[in-house]
């Protein structure tokens, strides 16, 4: 399983433009809002959690297409399925590698970008923590969609399939930051995100494994 994580990370390193592209997309989308709305601090603070989360979701969507598509095209996916280990472990490894290359950089960047929205320090902490819990869910659920739409043309279908599934993550993720801004305790939202993380890490590798088997049948 670690072999597959290392392999995917190495492939991502050879395709640095793709990884950086996702990251710059996130930075630009988030930065456009303060520029477009103007320096109204109260308004910026109010929209910050939603903007950061929606941008993070869209940025991850950009890289989801690639998760299985290139392995499918060059025949490597057949070899991954025929490896003598449960396919769910293989998909878990790919989800982990996807998160390291696309989710983790967003978590690290988000507090810096949050400064543009005049977020207080506690809200930035809550933002980082919520993204740390939420981005693996995004990657894990996305892997199911990527498996189901494998071999079909266009990423639009994938977006239509997966984005509605992200609604709970968006609500609780943005809610946690919102709570802190209003001086409330974000523990409830963060606990729900953590619960979602556990459920999605347990079930989505298995579900995307089934989707891959169907796609290759």
């Amino acid at each position: 399983m670690l072999a597959i994580v290392r392999r995917d990370l190495r492939l991502a390193m050879r395709h640095r433009a793709d990884v950086l592209g996702t990251l710059f997309f996130f930075i630009i989308v988030v930065s456009l809002f303060p520029l477009g709305i103007g320096p109204e601090k109260a308004l910026l603070r109010a929209i910050a959690p939603g903007v950061l989360w929606v941008a993070a979701l869209l940025a991850t969507m950009l890289s989801l297409n690639r998760l299985f598509a290139s392995d499918y095209a060059d025949g490597t996916l057949e070899q991954l399925i025929l490896a003598p280990q449960p396919l769910a472990l293989t998909t878990l490894a790919k989800i982990l590698a996807l998160w390291i290359t696309t989710g983790l950089p967003l978590v690290i960047l988000a507090p810096i970008l949050g400064l543009q929205f005049d977020l207080p320090a506690e809200a930035l902490w809550a933002m980082t923590l919520a993204l740390l819990l939420g981005t693996p869910i995004i990657a894990a659920l996305g892997a199911i969609g990527a498996g189901l739409t494998l071999g079909l043309r266009g990423g639009v279908l994938l977006a239509l399939l997966v984005l509605p599934l992200y609604i709970p993550v968006l609500i609780f993720g943005a809610g946690a930051v919102d709570a802190v801004i209003h001086g409330l305790n974000p523990n409830a939202q963060l606990s729900l995100l953590a619960a979602g993380l556990i459920v999605s890490i347990v079930f989505s590798p298995w579900a995307s494994a089934v989707a891959l088997r169907i796609a290759l049948d």
Partner: protein
């Protein structure tokens, strides 16, 4: 340890409404080699994929050592080496990295020196550290086939292994097949061209058009 024995019993394959083939029966003992032949679109690749467990047969059963492969699952994959139509070579990685990774993924990690040795046999000594996108079609094929020189798997399923290869490489692959058979392996392969395997005459299965 599972006994080396592959049997297909009345296997049928449907693609949509169309029947590709039905009533395919194959029994292969250790040292058995069978060549699947037939016109384009007759289902050679489908048959190999069914035997590999990648797709399901519409009806019939495939057994390995007397047990259904669907029940053996990963245990069966551990006996199997499948090389498909697509070479499973990553453009971004060098031939050496590709081979090392393919071996690692299939659960038979090998040393760098062993991989270099196999690639040298495959005639890829010069392309060792070039990304695979600079290799020709035949060279990519050779890099994929270099796995045959390293693998200890019992059952080899090879889909058109001789495509795009020059005569020297065809001889090299044939010698690898002969060596595999000599060590009690089983080979099931598809091809259009007549191939001489030293010391063996493959049984032939002709799929109807």
């Amino acid at each position: 340890m599972i006994v080396c024995l592959l049997s297909l019993n009345q296997v049928q394959c449907l693609r949509g409404e169309r029947e590709l083939f039905s009533d395919v029966n194959i029994a292969l003992e250790p040292r058995g080699i069978m060549q699947i032949d037939g016109p384009n679109g007759s289902g050679k690749t489908s048959l190999l994929r069914i035997v590999a467990g990648l797709s399901a047969a519409a009806s019939g059963e495939i057994r390995w050592g007397g047990e259904l492969i669907s029940e053996l699952a990963e245990d069966f994959f551990g006996e199997l080496l499948y090389l498909g139509h697509a070479a499973a070579i990553k453009d971004e990685l060098t031939a050496q990295e590709n081979l090392l990774l393919a071996m690692e993924i299939s659960g038979e990690p090998c040393s760098i020196s062993a991989a270099n040795e196999a690639l040298a046999q495959a005639g890829l000594k010069d392309g060792l550290h070039l990304p695979a996108k600079y290799l020709s079609q035949g060279q990519r094929r050779r890099a994929a086939l270099a796995r045959l020189a390293l693998s200890k798997r019992c059952l080899w399923l090879l889909d058109e292994p001789f495509t795009a290869l020059d005569s020297i490489a065809v001889e090299w692959v044939a010698s690898l097949l002969a060596r595999h058979l000599a060590s009690d392996g089983i080979v099931l392969f598809t091809t259009h061209q007549p191939v001489a395997i030293p010391g063996h005459t493959p049984r032939r299965l002709k799929l109807p058009s």
